[in-house]
């Protein structure tokens, strides 16, 4: 229990540093590519985690990133919303108890294959990006641009998530 708590705290700090110092600094050459990867931790909290822990982690990570990168609440709102959505989705549409009994604590690639993995996480990643860009622009007439940048950035984040999962996946 304690080991996983410490591991998650270090994971959160590492992801925030990665986001702030490396990914925010990379110039992708176009304004449409602005991937956010720091909420990787939220996506892969085990189903057995207390739902308040998930929500408060999302809030805290968003809040810290907001304070250092001058984004006036955008990450706080988006990350809290993502955490809430994840918890609600898992409790309503997934049979969590059965999943845990079968040994699946997260939706990983070996649960129902790569296609299901990409679709499941892709939707949540897209929702985060789209919400962030809409709040950032704060205008409806930017909808098309926001949609485009959300799709492109989500694809990049999804690639990152898939690569990390493939790397840390236990070999049978």
């Amino acid at each position: 229990m304690n080991v996983s708590v410490i591991r998650n705290i270090f994971g959160a700090i590492f992801l925030l540093l990665l986001q702030f110092f490396i990914i925010n600094e990379v110039n992708f050459g176009t304004i449409f590519l602005r991937p956010f990867v720091y909420f990787y931790l939220l996506l892969f909290f085990p189903f057995t985690t207390n739902k308040y822990v998930v929500l408060l982690t999302g809030f805290a990570m968003g809040f810290v990133l907001d304070a250092v990168s001058n984004t006036y609440g955008l990450h706080t709102i988006s990350a809290s919303f993502l955490a809430y959505l994840l918890v609600q989705f898992q409790s309503r549409f997934l049979d969590v108890d059965a999943l845990v009994r079968e040994g699946h604590f997260v939706i990983s690639i070996d649960y129902k294959g790569l296609y299901y993995f990409l679709l499941y996480h892709g939707i949540f990643i897209f929702i985060y990006h789209f919400l962030f860009f809409m709040l950032d622009a704060f205008k409806w007439n930017m909808l098309f641009y926001n949609l485009l940048s959300a799709i492109l950035s989500s694809l990049l984040t999804l690639l990152f998530v898939a690569v990390i999962r493939l790397l840390i996946q236990k070999r049978p």
């Binding site: 304004i31 304070a67 006036y72 609440g73």
Partner: protein, 278 residues
């Protein structure tokens, strides 16, 4: 009452969520509706020391282009020196000390953190209220305008970049002697800014230089905004003009903060007049 309490307890998770959401929305609305500063920004956070290490490292990567920009600015200033001119009319040789009063002075500052990939970008610089920086001062670079000081702490300031939807300034096109309209960023390309409100009867051409006008109380007159890149005419009475910015925001490293001696006087006068009209 009991019913309400029960309802709250059943939906505690959602209640907590809504509360956390309000914290975020408070900051967002502070910025978007009231145009005031959001509290948790990098002029206050301790992360600046970390960000400074990063900017020190990044600073080495484009020393060459920075040198070139500074040399170009030096050349421009050197050409304005009085010793370059032969004064033919001996009557005008007198340059009395009280001939002109100094209006603007400048403070040099280093950029600690800067973004270009958001719709509302900010720049953190390493001079603050200890160096006499106040909210609302203009910030320029060797290449052109940079932004307006938005929030100040003792040793750092947060600058609202030109690349921010809240930024507006009035332009001056010297080739046409045209001063109408305003400059504002549409949020798409950090190399270009948009000029709105130029009448379509003006003969606007590509490569015309756009400067700050004397209508602006933030910037001195004649600071470079950029060069006109393309002109589009649409159904309305105004052109859609793209200006290529003089400042390269991706390589921003040194900036000057403009201190205007008469700013307070000007502001009180304007405020008084507006209050009287009301």
């Amino acid at each position: 009452m009991l019913y309400i309490l029960n309802l709250l307890r059943k939906n505690l998770f959602t209640v907590v969520f809504v509360f956390l959401l309000l914290v975020g929305f408070y900051q967002l609305f502070q910025f978007n509706q009231f145009h005031s500063t959001f509290y948790f920004n990098s002029s206050k956070s301790a992360i600046n020391s970390l960000a400074r290490v990063q900017s020190n490292i990044n600073g080495y990567f484009n020393l060459k282009s920075k040198n070139a920009a500074l040399a170009a600015e030096n050349l421009r200033l050197r050409e304005q020196l009085l010793s370059n001119f032969i004064i033919k009319d001996s009557n005008k040789l007198f340059v009395s000390d009280s001939f002109g009063k100094r209006r603007y002075s400048y403070v040099l500052a280093g950029v600690v953190k800067s973004t270009t990939n958001l719709r509302n970008n900010f720049i953190t610089i390493d001079k603050g209220s200890n160096d006499g920086i106040k909210i609302g001062m203009g910030v320029i670079s060797p290449g052109g305008i940079v932004g307006i000081v938005y929030d100040v702490s003792k040793n750092f300031s947060l600058v609202m970049s030109v690349l921010n939807s809240k930024f507006k300034t009035s332009p001056f096109i010297p080739a046409l002697k045209y001063k109408e309209g305003f400059v504002n960023w549409n949020g798409l390309d950090p190399k270009f800014i948009q000029l709105d409100g130029v009448s379509r009867f003006e003969k606007v051409n590509k490569d015309m230089v756009v400067l700050t006008s004397n209508y602006s109380s933030v910037f001195p007159e004649g600071i470079v905004i950029g060069k006109i890149d393309n002109v589009k005419s649409n159904k309305s009475n105004f052109f859609e003009i793209n200006i290529k910015l003089g400042t390269d925001f991706n390589k921003l490293d040194l900036v000057y903060i403009v201190k205007d001696k008469y700013r307070a006087e000007l502001d009180t006068l304007q405020k008084k007049t507006i209050d009287e009209i009301k």
